[in-house]
Symmetry: C2
Subunit: 509 residues, 2 copies
Amino acid sequence: MREINYVKTVEKWGVFEVAIPGYSDKNPFTDYTIRGRFYSKNEDKCVDGFYDGDGIYKVRFMPSFEESYTFDIEGSFSEEKYHGFFDVTPPEKNNHGPVRVANTYHFAYEDGTPYYPLGTTCYVWSLQPEELQELTLKTLADSAFNKIRFCIFPKHYDYNFNEPISYPYAGTPCDNSGLLKENYIEYMGCAPGNNWDYMRFNPEHFQRFEKRVNDLMDMGIEADIIVMHPYDRWGFSMMDKEADDLYWNYVIARLSAYRNVWWSLANEYDLMAHKQLEDWERYAEIICKKDAYNHLRSIHNCRSFYDYSKPWITHCSIQRQDTYKTAEYTDEWRIRYKKPVVLDEIAYEGNIQHGWGNISGQEMVRRFWEAACRGGYGGHGETFMDPENILWWSHGGKLHGESPKRFKFLSGILKETPGLGLAPMNAKWDEVAARADGSPFGDGGYYLYYYGFNRPSFREYYFDDLHTYEAEVIDTWNMTITKAGQYKGKFQVELPGREYMAVRIRQAD
Amino acid sequence: MREINYVKTVEKWGVFEVAIPGYSDKNPFTDYTIRGRFYSKNEDKCVDGFYDGDGIYKVRFMPSFEESYTFDIEGSFSEEKYHGFFDVTPPEKNNHGPVRVANTYHFAYEDGTPYYPLGTTCYVWSLQPEELQELTLKTLADSAFNKIRFCIFPKHYDYNFNEPISYPYAGTPCDNSGLLKENYIEYMGCAPGNNWDYMRFNPEHFQRFEKRVNDLMDMGIEADIIVMHPYDRWGFSMMDKEADDLYWNYVIARLSAYRNVWWSLANEYDLMAHKQLEDWERYAEIICKKDAYNHLRSIHNCRSFYDYSKPWITHCSIQRQDTYKTAEYTDEWRIRYKKPVVLDEIAYEGNIQHGWGNISGQEMVRRFWEAACRGGYGGHGETFMDPENILWWSHGGKLHGESPKRFKFLSGILKETPGLGLAPMNAKWDEVAARADGSPFGDGGYYLYYYGFNRPSFREYYFDDLHTYEAEVIDTWNMTITKAGQYKGKFQVELPGREYMAVRIRQAD
């Protein structure tokens, strides 16, 4: 037994890492094991470690209590066993812990701070050249986004024909030149020429990836990690069960200790012809068993939803199923699944040829408000034609659209909701109305009405004859909030007869 | 037998009228009958006449052949019988005969000229002051509208609290002042104070009405006559069976001979609490029996469709059932009902407080194009706040919106369709595509693609490798048509990445 006494401390919900040399003969990814037990007054967790290359094995742990921890590391990776201690300090300013489902339909960080998802998608931003990755982080820092969906595996798809900066496995890729854009835009499989050892990971690929997860964590942005996806020329979407399970275990061992991790089992799972329902359920089992921190879990569809009522799914991660009605179904999905509804794909702002990637900023923002007032959350993406083929939706970079700055405004409004979020409210057929949900005072005397593409010049409201209500007119596009008077009984609020207006009414006494 | 030899001739599909004095004692509307038989080499029709006040009875007839006609008039209205002759001349320039269903989904005038409905709604324009009626006709003359929906009975509803210029029955109306706007906006029934004799019509009311039907006929505009409706303070919506049937017979006797008449049994039939399905079916029976010319027949809904598959219904007269998806269902309704789909109400351009009356011009035009490219027809209405409470949708007057001039452009495009209209075509999920329908050459080598709120920067097309295809980019909002090249095989058309674009492709060889 070797004792390791770490002088350094770690903040609560931070990543505590133990790195130890071990055997590097044979295949360290499959032939040796490493496992850690971390325990304190209030918790006691066992987690797998992983081989990180160059003879180094690592075990990571995220402590949830501010107290002294003890750990034991053991496994076949070494003849030695390791033992040590460390202290956990209070969380730093922007560290609120992992995001949890707080009350059926809404989220909160583990410290109780409400979390209103405002997500975007940059599928393979972390596989682009370093400068572009840095630019993406800068753009994110200036935005309201607090969640980003991205992939571990590289992506082959329209506008995505370049090579990634690294590959997840040891081996060599196929020659891209054989896959002409015209015929292979939606190629999904393993093109001739690939030569991968699915039993040997490329640690550098994962080191890069988790550096970005860490960067996001420091910025307070949730990393909604897409573990599998179908847009593939390298064969990573059609590995066998043994390779898949090895991959899942490796990913969980490496990434679980980052508090900002969400597991998205797949993007468009239903396009992955080589995977069956039983495969997805098996991956979910692996996560539930091996992720010691119970990170959020979901799976994203193309045509048909996964059954979000499955117990392992923590929230709906939805791609809209209808071209015209998207966020309008949010309240129905809440009822159907009794879980938070996150509309991770409701088409992207842009002008590319594909119908999923060319809606206007107005329509994008409308969908977000529609989702919010129906008690759910929109998801952003951006696909503008670019001379260098850098599209935010896949590559990150800069944002060009008109919607992102309106999300800052929406985010401000959401943060003023009493309680944990908005719930749809019975409303007239021609409005969407929400009340505060989960407030200790019922609806919190807080109501939002949204008129979308309708342009009423005035609307009437009536709550009761006893209380005073304060009205504000919100222009969701021009980002203004205008006081509109205090009222008792039945009252009327004047509106400008423009699209995208909302009315907020708060009980004032 | 008295012989009447009319020197005057009548054009084919014109109105031939015989006016004869008769008894005016007792109740001429119920106690006396008048009936005419009109016959020629090619037709032989019997039609009811009607009492027109001041001791005069009339019988009207619309001849369908250019030949000599004989007629016999008889009934209890007089001890005399009448006999006469007249000649039918060719139709004048703008007279194409009544509109018929031409090929399941589309219309044509009786002379074979295609008819593409471009309708508007002005519920009670013909009951407004004369100057306003004249203004409405002037506005219509400057527009692309070729159909207008309007009511025989006056209307009580929001923005419609004034008295009409005349009433359909002898008697006196209730005092309007008792019906405050706030509480009676949707009043439907018979308010206290009404005193009507439902057995005695007011001929002046019908004379005014049919003068306007005649004006529209001269302008080439179809009169889609709403015979019943629920927005009522006078009790006309809750008359008994005897009164209803008398009314239907009177209306048919007066109006059938106008070639531009369409029968709309009701507006929002399902809001008429005093009428049952059997009533509607009985009215339909009366029309089918008494309208000798087989005018188009339909019925308009509020919440639930009437069963448009009923044999007496010639076309669907639809109010959209969903706030968000409206014209998008056109192709489904075609399949369901196998009849022309006319979307008589898909919300109105405007800014009033009601959700059915405050969409933008862009959204209105988008719905028309969406309907057109799915093989149906949109319907217009306009509801802008007005200091004098003159809203086109009810009162007529001037148009203020941005959509009407875009209908002229759409009308021009529709008139270039080979055959009788457009049929929806199998298309990618993110486009609406139509081909010419009913052309002698199949699809006529004529294709329209519409992108609505999507903003593609380019799209790809492929028909075959043999023929040359000519492409045009149509900006449906800015009303431009731009040549976009001739192609063989697979080809790409550049688009400006704006909303509301269409592409027309025609086979050039």
